[in-house]
C-alpha cells in the first residue's frame, strides 16, 4: 500500500507585486535578521473535529512551526506574539499596517484554516509592511494529518518570496540513531522531518547500519548494513520496508550514494586490501568499475549534472579529495592544504564541495569550489564529520561527538547544522544520539 500524499495548492491571487521593498540578502550571515510577525492562523468555528487532533489549537501550532523554521535560518527574527495587537481573523482580512509597524515588524504572515468533509483547508498571506502591500496569498487543501507539512510548505513559500531562493523546510533527514556503550553501539536507521518532528525508526538495531542516503525522489535509501556480519550496500524502500542487497560483490561494499538521476548506485568495493569505486545500474544490474588504483578510493559523490564525481583517495600518501569525469577518466587532485581531507559531497547547486578536514587533532567542516580553490572552514571541533547539503545548497547538516568525563570516555553524538556562510550553527533535536545525516530534496516540488 503506497500512501499518496496529495496537497493541492491554489493560487488565490496572482503575485501582484514583484518589486516588493523587503528582500533578504542571504549572501551575508545572520547579521541583521528580518523582524517578522507570524500571526496564529484563525480557525473557523464551523470546523469538524478530528480524532487525535485538536483543531482549535491547530492555527497556533502551524504558526509555531513556521516561526521555528524561520528562526532556524538565522535570517528572520520572529516577534513575540504578546505584542500582537490585531486578532488573527481580522489581520488576515486586512491588517492595520501602522499597528504592525509599531512593533517593528517588517513582514507579517496571516492565515486561516477550516476542516470540512475530512479535508483541511489552509490559507495564508504574506504582507510587506514597509510597502503596506500583500506579497503572496495561497491556499492548500489536504488530509488533516498532513498539517505539519502544510506548515513547512507555507514556510518554504515565504522563504522563497523573501530570499529569492528555494526553501528547504518541507524536507526530511534520514540518519543513524545511536544508543548503548561505544564498544557495542546499537545503530538503527531513523527518519524525521527536517525540524526533528515525526521520528520513525526503519531498522530494529539487530545489525550495525551506517551512512544512509536518499535517492532523488526520497522514496529509497541506500546504506551499509552488517546483516549476517557481511558488510554490504543495501537498498531500502521507505514506504514498503523492502530491503535488498545491492549487487553480488565478493567482499565489502560501502560508501554508497545515488546518481543524480537515481538510476545508479555508486560505492566502494573492497577486495584483498584495496578499495575501488564502482557503479551498479539498478535496473540492468550492470556493474561498472570507475577507478582502478592500488590505493584506497572511497566516498564518491556525483556533481548534480552527473558529469563528474568527487571522491576520497590516499593515492598521494594521505587522504585527499579528487575529482574525475563520471567514467573515471581525468582524475585530478583538488586538495593540497595541510591536513587530511575526507567525505567530499557535491552541492546540489553544483558550485561547491563540502568536506571534512582533519588537522592537528581537530576536525573541520568546510566548503570549497569544485577545483579546490576558495577553501573555507566553517566549524572546528574535536570530532565531527559527514556533511550533507540542504536541497537549496545553503545549509549543511553534519554530526558531532561531544566528549565528556575522564579521558573522554563519555560522549554524545548529535546532528548539527550550519549556514555555508559559517554563521548560525545549531544543534538539531533528535530523540536519541544521532550520526550520518542525509538531507532529502524538497518533498513537494
Amino acid at each position: 500500500m503506497k500512501k499518496i500524499i496529495l496537497i493541492s495548492i491554489l493560487y488565490l491571487f496572482s503575485i501582484s507585486n514583484l518589486f516588493a521593498l523587503i528582500k533578504i540578502d542571504i549572501t551575508r550571515g545572520n547579521l541583521d535578521p528580518l523582524p517578522i510577525a507570524v500571526s496564529p492562523l484563525h480557525v473557523e468555528k464551523a470546523s469538524e473535529s478530528i480524532k487525535d487532533l485538536k483543531i482549535k489549537d491547530l492555527g497556533t501550532q502551524i504558526s509555531k512551526i513556521i516561526e521555528n523554521n524561520f528562526r532556524s535560518t538565522g535570517l528572520f527574527n520572529p516577534l513575540k506574539k504578546e505584542a500582537f495587537v490585531q486578532k488573527p481573523d481580522i489581520a488576515h482580512l486586512k491588517p492595520r499596517f501602522e499597528d504592525w509597524k509599531l512593533i517593528k515588524a517588517q513582514a507579517l504572515v496571516t492565515g486561516k484554516l477550516s476542516v470540512k468533509n475530512n479535508k483541511l483547508k489552509v490559507e495564508f498571506r504574506l504582507w510587506d509592511l514597509t510597502a503596506s502591500k500583500e506579497m503572496v496569498a495561497l491556499a492548500f487543501t489536504t488530509t488533516p494529518s498532513n498539517w505539519r507539512r502544510v506548515a513547512h510548505i507555507i514556510s518554504d513559500k515565504i522563504y522563497e518570496r523573501l530570499t529569492g531562493e528555494s526553501g528547504y523546510f518541507d524536507t526530511r533527514i534520514i540518519y543513524v540513531a545511536e544508543s548503548g556503550p561505544k564498544d557495542q553501539r546499537i545503530k538503527k536507521l531513523a527518519i524525521m522531518d527536517q525540524d526533528g518532528a515525526r521520528t520513525k525508526y526503519l531498522t530494529l538495531g539487530n545489525e550495525l547500519v551506517l551512512t544512509p542516503r536518499f535517492n532523488p525522489s526520497n522514496q529509497m535509501v541506500t546504506y551499509l548494513s552488517y546483516f549476517r556480519n557481511l558488510p554490504r550496500v543495501y537498498l531500502l524502500d521507505i514506504e514498503t520496508g523492502k530491503q535488498e542487497v545491492v549487487g553480488n560483490f565478493p567482499g565489502m561494499t560501502f560508501a554508497p550514494r545515488f546518481s543524480p538521476d537515481g538510476k545508479k548506485i555508486i560505492m566502494s568495493f573492497a577486495k584483498d586490501g584495496n578499495s575501488d569505486i564502482f557503479t551498479m545500474d539498478l535496473e540492468s544490474r550492470v556493474v561498472e568499475r570507475i577507478t582502478e588504483h592500488s590505493s584506497i578510493d572511497t566516498s564518491p559523490s556525483y556533481s548534480p549534472d552527473g558529469k563528474y564525481i568527487c571522491f576520497n583517495s590516499d593515492r598521494s600518501g594521505l587522504q585527499q579529495i579528487y575529482v574525475m569525469k563520471s567514467d573515471g577518466s581525468n582524475v585530478k587532485r583538488i586538495t593540497f592544504g595541510k591536513g587530511i581531507y575526507g567525505t567530499p559531497v557535491w552541492s546540489p547547486r553544483g558550485d561547491l564541495i563540502a568536506f571534512t578536514k582533519v588537522r592537528n587533532g581537530k576536525f573541520y567542516i568546510g566548503v570549497m569550489r569544485t577545483d579546490g580553490s576558495g577553501e573555507r572552514l566553517l566549524t572546528e571541533n574535536f570530532y565531527q564529520e559527514a556533511p550533507s547539503w540542504s536541497p537549496n545548497g545553503r545549509v549543511l547538516v553534519f554530526y558531532r561527538e561531544t566528549k565528556s568525563g575522564a579521558k573522554g570516555k563519555g560522549f554524545t553524538a548529535k546532528l548539527w547544522s550550519i549556514d555555508i556562510t559559517g554563521y548560525n550553527e545549531r544543534k538539531i533535536s533528535t530523540e536519541t544520539d544521532a550520526s550520518d545525516p542525509s538531507w532529502s530534496s524538497l518533498l513537494s516540488k
Binding site: P181, K182, D183, Q184, R185, L208, L210, T211, L224, N229, L230, P231, G251, M252, F254, A255, S268, A270, D272, G273, N274, S275, I296, T298, S299, N312, D314, L318, Q319, I340, G342, T343, T356, V358, G361, F382, Y383, E385, A386, E401, K403, K407, G408, K409, F411, D436
Partner: protein
C-alpha cells in the same frame, strides 16, 4: 682487591640504575612510533600466541613485533588444521567513517597476506572490517587510539 670490590659495587649500582630506568620507561611508554607495544588489551589464541597486532596511524604495514606475533599464529594454525579464523580490521576514531572502513579492510588483509606466506590457506581465513565501529578502548586518548588501531584474529566456532 679493595679496588676491584669497589669497581664491582659500582657496576652493581650502575646495573641497578639501568634496570630501574628500563623498567620505568617500559611502564611509561607502551607505544613505539605510535604503534601500541603493550599487552593490556591483548587476548591469546593459545599459550603465548597473541590474537592481535597493532598499526601506526593511517598505516597498514606490519612491524617486526607484529610479524613475530603472526608467525606464532601461523604455527598455531598449522597445528590446528581444522580451525578457521576471521581476521577483523579496526581503525581509531580519528578519521572519517568511510575511509576507516577501507583502512580496516586493508589492515586485516595485511595480516591475511602475511599468514598466507607462512602456508595458511586463504580459504581458512575470512576478513571483515569494522572501521572505527568497535573500539576495544573507548577512551579518547592517544593510548586508546593506539590500542584500537588493530587487527584481531578470531577463531570461528
Amino acid at each position: 682487591m679493595k679496588f676491584i670490590k669497589n669497581l664491582r659495587n659500582l657496576f652493581l649500582i650502575l646495573f641497578a640504575t639501568l634496570a630501574l630506568s628500563a623498567c620505568s620507561t617500559a611502564k611509561k611508554s607502551q607505544t613505539s612510533g605510535d604503534v601500541y607495544t603493550g599487552t593490556d588489551t591483548v587476548e591469546y589464541l593459545a599459550s603465548g600466541v597473541k590474537d592481535r597486532v597493532f598499526f601506526a596511524t593511517n598505516k597498514s604495514s606490519l612491524t617486526s613485533a607484529s610479524r613475530e606475533t603472526l608467525r606464532k599464529q601461523a604455527t598455531y594454525l598449522r597445528k590446528n588444521k581444522k580451525l578457521n579464523v576471521t581476521i577483523e580490521g579496526h581503525a581509531d576514531e580519528r578519521g572519517t567513517r568511510e575511509f576507516n572502513l577501507a583502512l580496516g579492510e586493508r589492515r586485516a588483509n595485511a595480516v591475511k597476506d602475511y599468514l598466507m606466506t607462512y602456508g595458511i590457506s586463504g580459504k581458512r581465513m575470512s576478513v571483515i572490517s569494522y572501521g572505527k565501529e568497535r573500539p576495544v578502548n573507548t577512551e579518547s586518548t592517544p593510548l586508546a587510539w593506539s590500542q584500537n588501531r588493530r587487527s584481531v584474529t578470531v577463531k570461528v566456532k
